[in-house]
Assembly symmetry: C2
Homo-oligomer: 475 residues x 2
Amino acid sequence: MQNAIDEIKQLLGSRGWLEGEDTATYTADIRGTYKGVALLVARPANTQEVSGVVKICRKHGIAIVPQSGNTGLCGGAVPKGNRPSIVLSLSRMNKLISVDPLRYSVTAEAGCIVQTIHDAAAGVDRSFALDWGARGSAMIGGAISTNAGGMNVLRFGNTRDQVLGLEVVLPDGQIWDGLRALRKDSSGYDMKHLFIGAEGTLGIITKAIMRLHPRPQRDQTMFASVGDAPRLMELFALARAIASDGLTAFELVPGFMVEKALAKYSKLQRPLETRAEWYVMVRFSGRDEIDQKFESFFEQAMEKGLITDASLAQNLAQEQNLWDLRDEIPPLKLMTGKMLKWDASVPIDRIIPFLGEAEGRARALEPNAKLIAFGHAGDGNLHMSVWPEGTPGDPAFDTLCKQIVSAIDELIWSYGGSICAEHGVGVENFDRVQGQKSTLEFEMMARIKMLFDPDGLMNPGKMFDPVQALARAAE
Amino acid sequence: MQNAIDEIKQLLGSRGWLEGEDTATYTADIRGTYKGVALLVARPANTQEVSGVVKICRKHGIAIVPQSGNTGLCGGAVPKGNRPSIVLSLSRMNKLISVDPLRYSVTAEAGCIVQTIHDAAAGVDRSFALDWGARGSAMIGGAISTNAGGMNVLRFGNTRDQVLGLEVVLPDGQIWDGLRALRKDSSGYDMKHLFIGAEGTLGIITKAIMRLHPRPQRDQTMFASVGDAPRLMELFALARAIASDGLTAFELVPGFMVEKALAKYSKLQRPLETRAEWYVMVRFSGRDEIDQKFESFFEQAMEKGLITDASLAQNLAQEQNLWDLRDEIPPLKLMTGKMLKWDASVPIDRIIPFLGEAEGRARALEPNAKLIAFGHAGDGNLHMSVWPEGTPGDPAFDTLCKQIVSAIDELIWSYGGSICAEHGVGVENFDRVQGQKSTLEFEMMARIKMLFDPDGLMNPGKMFDPVQALARAAE
């Protein structure tokens, strides 16, 4: 083993690796929920070095945990278990290789920070779609490997939809050059989609060509009180009919959490005097026409009873205030107690019935349980949590928590939904996601995993267990 | 063999199969370029029957050629070679299962006609993105299997981008239920993308959930004379900056072919008095704001010398006239002689230099060769043909033709382009596409093919030869 480590050190040079205490920030996730052990953190400077490290690890049977910004929420970038592992950090491969405004694309190394791409795009009057809280430290390789979602999915789709081409180091160290910038190419199986969202289990993404989009002249957001929650998706359809592609966000916000956030953070301004059980934040993007569109939207939504009141951000400060409020809604910042959480998606027209049933299931098990949901309603994606009363560590309470999780997971599946909407599987959902797909689908995944990585060295213990999946299929 | 055929007949019942002369329209492609032989045309009525037929074929080693509308241009849906084959026609599975306006999706069987989905979408104030000439007979299964392109790719992407979920009968007869309508789901490898664009070589798509989009209030098209061809993509960028997502078509049309089409078809009106080497058709879609946007676009494009004249369709008849003109441009309808053709894509900013070099390469080999290109410039996708002078059948001329094809294929690849942009590979590009991708990429494709279809029964002789690909990789 030490031979292998020495070989890697020699290949990468003194700037190319870390060990001992220096590895601490690489072996734990950003929230400190997941911690692992690494023989070494390898920090290759280019694709050839990534390939070299992979070949050494393969020869010696060392597992590889690819890591870019390490901002994930599911522990996917941290070593798991006692298997000898290295972390392969893409953080030195952080170059934005080119910005092509006429091609509407950028080419970047996997360690390039998401914010860097935003800045470069803005500099040539373009916009980049991927956006979420960690934009200043998340790196593009991790975004692609987890098929990250975020604030702009409604208009632009997930990370998957932004990828034009990829370069990937395969588990045997070969380099697949799929760095194509084409809008149309139907010349064989589309290999890049296998690596997108694979959480580093099939190879290491080293470079990507990402789409850019035209830059809207301005964004403006309306904060509105929902008048009739069961008809929420009629409100969505109205906004979409009026603004069409100019509808770029449709976020659901619970009144209860707005009050909590306003009480806690003095920087936040109350956006609307009307108190409501639910609010929506509706963002239109475009040019001057959006004033008129908001006017139509407001009038029609009021007339139909879909909203009862609304205010429109009148300047950048008010606009920022709304999105700051949205950023402070995540309940971990505002609640205490035991949180059971979901990054759930359901078909967009089923959100409200789903939420009612989810609360029912939680309360059937724990009558005082509180359900909180907010998020990307226009994508059918809810960040949902249940807060049961009780003492963590008490076996009866822990069992109750598990029952609530199972009951709601199953409800999500009965709606044709996913418990891994935009944050991925990683370690966090490794066990739970088993129930989401058929034995056949896991078998297909396992066969593909075995094909690319027969030794199981790429990010083991993440997403799913191929050996178990095959065993189940053989039953 | 006869046992197998009898078994299939018995499974499907008398309406479920055709043989002998009745198979003629199923064993030749729409243009009569490709012809094959089938033991039987199986016409299953549902997914279970598809699965049953596949199991029988597998047991007896009979190849299966999946076919839906049979409108493809590359021979992918017609039996190839002398191997005992059946055609598995999805044409009886033509139901539109559901239309979900609030979910912005439809669910359809693979044999559902593309036009049917358009009509259903329009009926609930939605639009469906897939559109091309054969919309009245093309079926959704074939569109997905070839990842078809068409007129709306600029705004909405290819067929791949319209697919939310799939049901697929695998080569062993198992049914994979991936019929999910979710906008966000990062819970494992995205299996559906393997089957999209796989031309039926990995399984048979039996059902699909497809996206719908908001319906624009109107479409309007400007026909403009290009002022400075080398700056064509500046013109594109200007249109996109002004109209943003409202720019829904940017088609390049050669003046030479406009004159030919106008001379041949008396129904067509001349859209513009100015004669130019190149025209563009620029379509904006949206609401009232598009008038003002066309005004800005016209003024700025004229001022910058990017166009020299333009006319805007003033009513539906004028709008239709422009698109009829566009439909009559394909040179087969207007030219005589030997046509060498390409469905090429290059990065969008390289179109004009590429066309100049392509013409140069053709003329270096045959000084009188004429190059004609038109198409989806906003997607980097050109339908291009070269017309060399000579007598087909004359060995020297045939060799010359091959040289021109090779020279231009290689030029396309040197631009990072594809020779199979939107029509697929099929039989037509089976040999030529070999040069487009690395040995490693074909090896990856071959291993996946072997994994799903170890007996090689699914649409053999189409897209690529996995055995050859593995042999080349082993060299």
